[in-house]
Amino acid sequence: MRELRYREALREAIAEEMDRDDRVFLMGEEVGYYQGAYKVTEGLLERFGARRVVDTPITEEGFAGVGVGAAMVGLRPIIEFMTWNFSAVAFDQIINHAAKIRQMSGGQFACPIVFRGPNGAARQTGAQHSQCWEAFYTHIPGLKVVAPATVADAKGLLKSAIRDDNPVLVLEDERLYGLKGEVPDGDHVVPIGVSAQVRDGDAVTIVTWGKMLHMVLPACELLAKEGVECAVIDLRSLRPLDLGPALASVEKTGRALVVQESWPYGGVGAEVVDRIQRDAFGALKGPVLRVTGRDASMPYNKHLEDLTIPSVDTVVRGVRAVLAW
């Protein structure tokens, strides 16, 4: 075990996979000479050279498409979006091309590509730069979506994503890049489509992912002081979705809460709620509730931003609301 930062874990995953496999290359804005807008790719240009670490102009649709084409003929591109907000410009390539190639070609062409970058709100970056993209992309058959919340998972899930024969979208988080955590030595690979129970409890099952895990765990500590012990499931992969551990926990607790940063309308949380009520209906003592971001574009003002994103406090209130049934 070694302690790394989240950004270093991602970098290790990229570097190790590039060492393993010459087909793997990295492409995106400021990934090379500038060392990455958020320093995830620091040192990679020096180590692998400009053939494999490719700086692009601001052309998201173009370089996402170049990635798709290269992937169709056997390369394994890692496409960095400076933030996922800019993937909107590449929506067509991800949704109409990457996701559909395999099906449309009757299985003749695969698209083994990784799209990655920070997702969700950073700090006061306003309406256009603070969005969560999981609802958009998990909607699409043919795409896999992962959202590592821990440093070890950042490395392990990215390695799996690079080795996967499908398009895999890795939703990182700017607020997590500096997070420190233990990472197992060696070739640490975390399979896609396996969730993790990170806390046990008998009161409420909380299902979450990404940055919100770090709101949920402190909330659980506060509640534990009152004798309320919550179980916490970190989904890790959002598509495919593994609700096995969550359902097993709900069988014990009879209560569930989903905590997500993204907007309430539709989305991953709604999918989780639907599956829990279908597959664990008999065990439920009340409705499955959600704590979500507020249903509005992100305001710039700090105070309003804090009110818009779920906090430790709103998670605690969410648990109380579930328990009130």
Binding site: E29, E30, I58, F86, V89, Q124, G126, P299, Y300
Partner: protein, 318 residues
């Protein structure tokens, strides 16, 4: 004071206001009074000031996240701009937009857009509306040289040329797109060449002399107003600060920056003003006025109220 100096004096004052405003903003940012991204315009002032000097009240402006200069040049108050940076309800976007999203409907300032490229098409749409209504209004759109490869820019140019829209697109070539010099983002050195494929008029000049910027952009504005033809302009300029406050600017040398400061548009305007008979005392008076205006704006921003929680959802729908 000599009469020919009056016009330049006005433009000089605007440039100075932008610079002092942004210096104050940089300080407030380091004190934690401003958050998020803060992209400074320092060094590029003559571009916005010279260009906007050609506009009438009915004309429109669409810009990028680097928008403080065009906002102030459009006559938006330093108070409303600074309060927006501080996230206050008295700000030009009620504290909801921040540095990248300055808006002012009355002055037809339509942002402050943070996603590269898309706003050029929006600007074409504003020009389309002017033509649709039969009004002789012009839309001015600003973007950076690093943004001329993206689809939104090209689709907008293609449509503006096809439909003869009264649009002037100004590429501010400050030589860097974040940390990337133009030579690594583009296969040509002159972004105004992009006009050729669309059969559009183009021009290219330096931003050192604000009067020259005014004159050259004026030709394009007249073309748009009189003949409803679009123009693509490259203004060659330079930013002294990093891409945003979080950029240490390691991709260029301090010698390079110092060299470029020698052709500073404010310094040039000052020496031109002196040659026209403006005295040191006149310049000192303007400096004092501008400083007072910026101090007042900072105080106003400090003392203004935060937007209330009810504003979070208030503007989601009409």
């Amino acid at each position: 004071m000599a009469a020919p100096a009056d016009e330049l004096l006005g433009l000089y004052r605007q440039m100075l206001l932008i610079r002092r405003f942004e210096e104050a903003a940089a300080k407030a940012y380091s004190q934690g009074k401003i958050g998020g991204f803060l992209h400074l315009y320092i060094g590029q002032e003559a571009s916005a000031v010279g260009a906007l000097a050609n506009l009438d009240a009915g004309d429109a402006i669409v810009g990028t996240y680097r928008d403080h200069g065009i906002a102030l040049a459009r006559g938006m108050s330093a108070r409303a701009c600074m309060a927006e940076l501080y996230g206050k309800v008295t700000g030009c976007s009620k504290g909801l937009g921040g540095s990248m999203h300055f808006f002012d409907a009355e002055r037809r300032m339509l942002g402050g857009d943070g996603i590269v490229g898309g706003h050029v098409a929006v600007a074409a749409g504003v020009a389309f509306a002017s033509k649709y209504r039969g009004l002789k209004e012009v839309t001015l759109c600003f973007l950076g040289e690093g943004s001329v490869s993206i689809g939104g820019f090209h689709e907008a140019l293609s449509l503006a040329a096809l439909w003869d829209l009264p649009l002037v697109v100004i590429v501010e070539n400050n030589e860097y797109s974040m940390g990337t010099p133009l030579s690594r983002t583009l296969s040509v050195h002159d972004t105004s060449q992009k006009a050729h494929g669309y059969g559009m008029a183009s021009d290219r000049f330096k931003s050192d002399d604000v009067m020259e910027v005014k004159r050259r952009v004026g030709e394009a504005v007249a073309r748009a107003r009189e003949t409803s033809k679009p123009t693509l302009i490259e203004v060659q300029t330079y930013r002294y600060r990093g891409h945003s406050m979080s950029d240490p600017g390691k991709y260029r040398t301090s010698d390079e920056v110092e060299l470029r400061k020698k052709t500073d548009p404010i310094v040039k305007a000052e020496s031109d003003l002196r040659a026209l008979g403006v005295t040191d005392a006149d310049l000192a008076r303007i400096e004092a006025e501008v400083e007072a205006e910026v101090e007042d704006a900072s105080r106003f921003a400090d003392e203004s109220a935060e937007p209330g929680e009810e504003l979070i959802e208030a503007f989601t729908y009409a």
